[in-house]
């Protein structure tokens, strides 16, 4: 018994350096990790498995570097991993199509995904995925429960929270307030190495045609005057504040 749970995972660059001359991001040697809200998604999927039984399959639309990222999800408790290679930056509609195409070939009851991602923050994939798969989206969940094949969430929204429910199969997107992702123990990290992982290319063709005019870090121009002596700092800051409020 239990549920077939799919968790959609994104990878994110560990840190992006900005070239001080061109103000453009530099990608030499970039390392990737499990994206922040994907971490919340994995945690939620694993909690559902622990509470109701079942299996968690991670699916990651990524690149050559994705195996380490999938291992992170497995150390947290995902049982199996599917990596689909061919990820294109800044193309959430393509990501949703690739994920939908792959997920259609898997049996599932519930799909968990992050509400948005910490780098591109388009929030486009959950909505698109729900349309492409023809399943309901319970979005922006801070609490997820299952009873009688129905999923019930508390949705966090701008002016109020609201309880929403729908029948499985369905898609749930989670926010960072949904849970506190676990830090895997060393033994779990080691066990992750033995879990099954498949790597494939996507069969879908990317037809993106947008022109990128620029992608630069804004000029900072901050003064960076830092006081380590508290007394001196207070004295100087008071002058600045008085200058501003007068």
């Amino acid at each position: 018994m239990g549920y077939n749970i799919i968790v959609c995972i994104k990878q994110i660059a560990n840190d992006i350096e900005i070239d001080p001359q061109t103000r453009e991001p530099v990608f030499s040697d970039t390392k990737y990790r499990l994206e922040d809200l994907s971490r919340n998604a994995v945690e939620e999927a694993v909690r559902i498995k622990e509470k109701y039984g079942g299996k968690v399959t991670g699916i990651l639309f990524g690149t050559e570097q994705s195996t380490v990222v999938m291992k992170e999800a497995m150390a947290m408790g995902a049982d199996e991993g599917i990596i689909v290679k061919g990820f294109k930056e800044n193309s959430p509609d393509f990501t949703a199509k690739v994920l939908a195409e792959r997920i259609k070939r898997i049996q599932y009851d519930i799909i968990i995904i992050g509400y948005a991602s910490a780098d591109s923050y388009t929030a486009q994939v959950p909505g698109a995925l729900s349309i492409l798969l023809g399943i309901p989206l319970l979005g922006s969940a801070i609490k997820t429960e299952i009873a009688d094949n129905k999923v019930r969430i508390t949705r966090e929204s701008d002016d109020f929270d609201i309880v929403e429910s729908a029948s499985m199969p369905l898609l749930v997107s989670v926010t960072q307030e949904a849970n506190e992702p676990r830090l895997p123990l060393l033994i779990q990290v080691m066990a992750a190495a033995k879990k099954p992982m498949s790597i494939e290319e996507t069969a879908l063709k990317y037809d993106g045609i947008d022109k990128i005019i620029g992608n630069k870090a804004p000029e900072s121009g901050r003064k960076h005057i830092i006081y380590e002596d508290e007394g001196k700092g207070i004295e100087e800051i008071v002058k600045i504040i008085k200058g501003e409020i007068s």
């Binding site: 929030a123 929204s157 609201i162 045609i209 830092i226 600045i240």
Partner: protein, 297 residues
């Protein structure tokens, strides 16, 4: 050309209207509860949805049904709006750009800007996008005399999502995007009771209070409208004082427009110090009351 604007927050619809009214003949889609407050913001037509909240899919399908009449769709980037936009794009097959902070049209193509890499860079693109979500608080609203045609509708698609109990949150009418001075607090504050240290400080300067995402969205020590950052408000005060805020990129994304930034943090290596003009390394519990006392005079 015509553009249809929708947001579940009427303020955002009005902001979008002042951003876009020079480019398009504008129509709004709005909930009946918001109709009165939106009458004077330049719309030729207001499509009024009977009700006050609906699942994203019902809204998305309704919006797509107007894409024959309207050339472009703009949706306020709220929790609901982002989902509506994504679904409308998937249903119609139209291209979409999300969370835009600037908009223009050149030779039939749109040019947009949005934050990227968590706010580290600004991505400027030229595309054939027809659907956009628009960052909240981008523009001052401006009243424009108009006598919109009122078109009352019921949403045609019933969603398979059932709505349950609504839990009202503490809200404020304060708009921090208009503030001159902002005192912003982060997890350096250890408990809600200590908030008075910060409110005292803010009140001697007549400053508005704001906070990081954990303070507003997770602990609810401040109302969510006061959250600054990538998923919150983008502010541009004369003075922004960040207290006990580490300065993760998603927070910086919301306060970059500030003229002068002061940071108080006990960790010398906190990233906020590379995004400030003046900083004090030290304990906020010692520093802030002293600042308040001196400023009170």
């Amino acid at each position: 050309m015509k553009a249809l604007l929708f947001s579940d927050r009427p303020l955002v619809t009005a902001q979008m209207s002042s951003l876009l009214c020079d480019y398009f003949e504008i129509g709004f889609m709005a909930y009946s509860k918001d109709y009165e407050s939106l009458k004077d913001f330049g719309a030729k037509e207001i499509i009024v949805i009977n009700g006050e909240y609906s699942p994203a899919e019902s809204l998305a399908r309704e919006i797509v049904s107007y894409m024959k009449e309207y050339d472009y769709i703009f949706i306020g980037a709220t929790v609901l709006g982002r989902e509506v936009g994504a679904m409308a794009a998937a249903i119609s097959g139209a291209e979409m750009k999300s969370e835009i902070i600037e908009f223009g049209i050149k030779d039939g193509k749109t040019t947009t800007k949005r934050l990227y890499y968590g706010g580290k860079t600004v991505l400027e693109e030229e595309s054939n996008a027809k659907i956009f979500t628009v960052s909240q608080g981008l523009k001052e609203t401006k009243k424009i005399e108009s006598s919109p045609k009122k078109n009352e509708i019921e949403l045609k698609t019933k969603s398979s999502v059932e709505l349950g109990e609504k839990i009202q949150k503490a809200t404020t009418s304060t708009d921090i995007t208009k503030a001159d001075i902002i005192v912003s607090i982060g997890r350096g504050l250890s408990k809600k009771e200590d908030l008075s240290i910060i409110t005292d400080f803010a009140s001697v300067m007549h400053a508005e209070l704001a906070g990081s995402r954990p303070i507003c969205a997770d602990y609810h020590w401040l109302e969510e409208e006061r959250q600054v950052g990538l998923s919150g408000k983008k502010v541009n005060p004369k003075l922004y004082i960040a207290i006990g805020i580490s300065g993760q990129i998603q927070h910086i994304a919301g306060m970059r427009g500030s003229k002068t930034v002061i940071a108080i943090n006990k960790d010398k290596s906190a990233p906020i110090f590379s995004e400030c003009d003046y900083g004090i390394v030290g304990d906020l519990y010692s520093i802030v009351p002293k600042l308040t006392k001196i400023l009170r005079g």
